[in-house]
């Protein structure tokens, strides 16, 4: 009886919603998920794996109250709407991408935590919104982003132009901060995985196991939110959330394994099924031949297709595994992509990237020092400009009159310099320069600094570890080897469409240098205790004695009759007849 009533009620309910039901079926879903994994062997024998998960939502988060979130995570959607964020880029990185040996990165991030945000022009108090944003993000990602305040935030004027749609770029709406001391571990990966529509249960995200990902020489996870064109006519905008994770496994160069690799060896998992919410799920393996030779590598199982694209100015070939195609899982339940090297690669022919940089601290002692940056342009005949952005904390006092830029022995005057000096405990140094790099040259930029002595409460609990200086950022338009054609963003793989390209003759790249670790003169932290003891002793002895001398009066005292012992002795002496004491 009860079951029949329940069934009848359900039928009534199903019949009672004709209008929304029909509209629901007719209207297309407004959000879509694409996931992608790019595996590229690096020249040194390591393997770089880049995961990209892109959720695109054809709705305007800023206008109109959106209340129904399907694929786009609600935490980030409400953040964007409430704080008036136009673009958000947050990256948490452990390790350093060695551009010189590994080539240009698809997307690099500096060591530690990096956050840069463009706000909408409607935001009146940008600093207040920035502070709230960093606190909310620190709660979502379990990172200490609440340490971002005015002492490590800068407003770049020429770098970090918006990556999404923008009408006008007033740089006062931009904020950039980097925390080089930030540690990245499983507690940052877990909330990142929870933002994915399928979590880590289906699709490409099943490969993301923390024990393998952190046993690597470079691990970077990032979240990018930006508005993009909805279609080719670009009259409406959609919001795009990209979650990227780049990891470099160094089994070969650290001597733990052979150069052949497979998904199981890298991640200790294989791909078994696709995320049902994804409209596209692909694995790309870079099989570009070097020096126009026949293929050196062999991938198994055979790919579903081969894709050629011009990435970072160079023609590259990729073997594509489309996880949504039914033929892939016909033979076996799981997909384990393997790559074997057919013949050993000569180590002498390591390609050198066109642009790479290096930074180090020079000098000796704990008083002064020098920051040196070396930028290499290895292109044989083309020169190009590069913007260098340096953020130096206030306790390293830079001497800007010692700034020297030397190329090929001659001084190289930058076309644009923006320098904002630091204010103690309030603002860091900001140095932005647009430098022209001649072909085939090394540019050396040096600036001297003096180390400040902090107040003793300002030192962290481990001051002898040193203090970090965040990585400098190099933004450049590097000339491409092959001209790039304009491709439809929706059809091309995700790793080609992060930076919008304006013309095909050069591609945009953003590099980061190493972070620096400098020692500041550290006081002896036991000294306050010692000083208090010593001062109290001295004061007690001197003042006490002086006080006694001044305030005590002196009386003459009768000699005492003697204690008990003396009296007893006198009694005995009287008996003996001897004079008393």
């Amino acid at each position: 009886g009860g079951m029949a009533a329940a069934a009848l009620l359900l039928l009534l309910l199903a019949a009672a919603r004709p209008g929304p039901g029909r509209a629901d079926a007719g209207r297309e879903r407004r959000d879509a998920l694409r996931e992608e994994l790019l595996l590229s062997p690096l020249p040194t024998g390591d393997v770089a794996a880049t995961f990209q998960f892109r959720t695109r939502w054809d709705a305007d988060l800023q206008r109109g109250a959106v209340s129904h979130y399907r694929l786009f995570p609600k935490a980030l959607g409400r953040l964007v709407a409430a704080l008036g964020v136009r673009e958000l880029h947050l990256a948490l990185t452990q390790g350093f991408w060695r551009t010189r040996y590994w080539g240009q990165p698809p997307l690099q991030a500096p060591a530690g935590a990096e956050l840069w945000v463009w706000f909408q022009p409607t935001v009146t108090d940008v600093d207040k919104a920035w502070k709230e944003l960093s606190n909310i993000l620190s709660g979502i990602f379990c990172a200490s982003l609440n340490f971002i305040d005015s002492t490590n935030t800068v407003i770049p004027t020429a770098s970090f132009k918006p990556l999404g749609l923008a009408n006008g770029t007033d740089h006062h709406l931009l904020r950039y901060a980097v925390l080089p001391r930030e540690v990245v571990c499983t507690e940052n990966l877990t909330p990142w995985k929870k933002l994915l529509p399928c979590g880590s249960k289906a699709g490409l995200a099943v490969l993301l196991k923390a024990e393998r990902l952190f046993h690597s020489s470079y691990h970077s996870q990032a979240v990018h939110i930006r508005p993009i064109c909805r279609d080719a006519s670009c009259l409406a905008l959609s919001w795009e959330l990209r979650q990227t994770l780049t990891v470099v496994f160094d089994f070969f160069s650290s001597g733990q394994g052979k150069k052949d690799w497979s998904l199981f060896k890298m991640f200790s998992r294989t791909l078994t099924d696709t995320c049902p919410l994804a409209s596209q799920s692909k694995v790309y393996v870079d099989i570009s031949p070097k020096n126009k030779e026949k293929e050196l590598l062999e991938v198994s199982p055979p790919p579903t297709s081969v894709h050629e694209a011009i990435v970072q100015g160079d023609k590259k070939t990729y073997a594509v595994y489309d996880l949504l195609s039914p033929s892939l899982f016909n033979t076996s339940r799981s997909l384990n992509v393997q790559l074997k090297w057919k013949r050993p690669q000569d180590s002498s022919e390591m390609p050198i990237p066109t642009l790479h940089a290096q930074r180090y601290v020079g000098g000796y002692g704990l008083q002064t020092g020098e920051i040196c940056t070396l930028i290499y342009n290895t292109h044989p005949y083309r020169a190009f400009p590069v913007i260098l952005l340096e953020t130096v904390p206030w306790y390293l006092r830079l001497y800007v009159h010692t700034l020297a830029i030397i190329t090929k022995g001659k001084e190289n005057k930058p076309s644009y310099i923006h320098y904002q000096p630091a204010q103690d405990r309030r603002r860091p140094h900001l140095l932005e320069m647009l430098i022209q790099l001649p072909a085939n040259s090394v540019t050396k930029i040096t600036i001297q600094f003096e180390r400040a002595l902090l107040k003793w409460t300002e030192y962290p609990p481990d001051p002898n570890h040193g203090f970090y200086v965040g990585s400098s950022v190099l933004s450049a338009l590097v000339p491409s080897v092959t001209a790039m054609k304009d491709v439809d963003v929706e059809q091309s793989p995700l790793f080609t469409s992060l930076f919008p390209s304006s013309d095909g003759s050069s591609y945009f790249v953003r590099l980061y240098t190493e972070p620096l670790l400098v020692n500041l003169p550290t006081p002896d932290f036991s000294m306050p205790y010692n000083v208090i003891c010593l001062t109290c002793t001295v004061v007690a002895v001197c003042y006490g004695s002086f006080y006694n001398l001044l305030t005590r009066t002196f009386h003459v005292e009768e000699p005492s009759r003697g204690g008990l012992a003396k009296r007893l002795a006198n009694v005995i002496r009287k008996f003996r007849g001897v004079p008393p004491l």
Binding site: R63, P162, G164, V183, T186, I387, P461, S502, F508
Partner: protein
């Protein structure tokens, strides 16, 4: 709360994570746990097995796991932040996961580990919290009705001194050693190179592994957990402030979160209007001309960018004072009546 920094204090992080793991296993969700770890051991460069924290050499139990949420990390673990979390006096921009959102019906379990002494607990080798401060914080919590019952467990040297000064009702406290005794660590692992856990927490973890959400074990069993033969130090406990008899207090009252679920077969009818809300999207206005992406490196625009003129401020106090001094000296030297010769 783990209060120790540096790699050789690995065991304190392992202690805290073991209790965290047990508490999660027994049903308490992350939103109800505030985990403070003063240093990062799992991804420390000296850890030979990254992203793992082991607690037992033979069991090889990775207490760090895959689903851990650390609310206060690294430099954020300070005495001030700890007391602010307890008393609720937190800056308004703190996210929810970093707050202790308890009320007068909440049972709170506080577990602290680190290095301590007679009457204090050391935070990160640079500051201490004393037993008086802790007792006052608990009294503030009591007066603001922030807890119903509180269980305080501490695993440090001379831990019993930390609960000596409590004076608020409904607090039960356990410590790993008495005043004058040291809490010792369990065993080192030669592969990792440090001691993995402290003895008291090791035996507490073994005890908790046998508890499941429906178990009826009570507090008296927890008091017997580590006798002197195993622990070398004498664990202590304090129940005089607690109103109920420890015999009647279940372990799961503090360590677990048991929810009563009632299953019903009755059907509910939904309001028709609620269902139609999803399809209402505000009509969007399309732009009249196409939007475009910004140029990433607009060289010409950058070179001709004029720097923003700084607002002119009148000179500040020091400069004004200096000029006033110079002018006064000048007039004193030359006298006003000679001014006409100057001009």
């Amino acid at each position: 709360v783990c209060t120790s920094r540096f790699w050789f204090n690995y065991r304190h992080v392992a202690n805290t994570l073991s209790v965290y793991r047990s508490v999660k296993r027994l049903g308490i969700p992350d939103s109800h746990i505030v985990l403070m770890l003063a240093d990062d051991m799992a991804c420390n460069p000296r850890n030979p097995k990254p992203a793992t924290v082991f607690s037992h050499k033979n069991m090889e139990l990775n207490v760090y796991g895959d689903d851990v949420e650390v609310d206060y990390r690294s430099y954020e673990v300070t005495v001030e932040n700890f007391l602010r979390v307890l008393t609720g006096r937190i800056p308004p921009s703190t996210p929810r996961s970093k707050r202790l959102l308890s009320d007068d019906r909440s049972n709170i379990l506080i577990y602290m580990t680190g290095h301590g002494g007679n009457g204090f607990l050391k935070f990160q080798d640079s500051e201490e919290i004393t037993n008086v401060e802790l007792a006052d914080a608990f009294e503030q919590m009591w007066q603001k009705r922030r807890y119903n019952e509180l269980l305080f467990i501490i695993d440090t040297c001379q831990g019993a001194s930390m609960y000596e000064r409590f004076y608020s009702p409904n607090i039960m406290a356990l410590a790993s050693s008495q005043v004058g005794e040291d809490s010792l660590s369990h065993q080192p692992d030669l592969g990792i190179g440090v001691h993995l856990m402290d003895r008291y927490t090791f035996y507490v973890l073994e005890f908790l592994e046998e508890i499941h959400p429906a178990s009826q074990t009570n507090m008296n069993d927890l008091f017997q957990v580590c006798p002197k033969s195993l622990c070398v130090s004498t664990p202590g406990h304090r129940t005089d402030l607690f109103q109920r008899d420890p015999q009647n207090v279940l372990i799961t009252d503090f360590f677990g979160s048991v929810r009563k679920v009632e299953i019903t077969a009755a059907a509910l009818s939904l309001d028709r209007d609620v269902v139609g809300l999803e399809s209402k999207f505000p009509e969007e206005e399309l732009a009249t001309e196409p939007l475009k992406y910004a140029e990433q490196l607009p060289v010409a625009q950058i070179i001709h960018q004029k720097p923003k003129q700084k607002d002119w401020h009148p000179p500040g106090g020091f400069i004004l004072g200096l000029w006033a001094l110079i002018i006064m000296v000048f007039f004193k030297t030359y006298g006003i009546k000679h001014m006409k010769h100057v001009f």
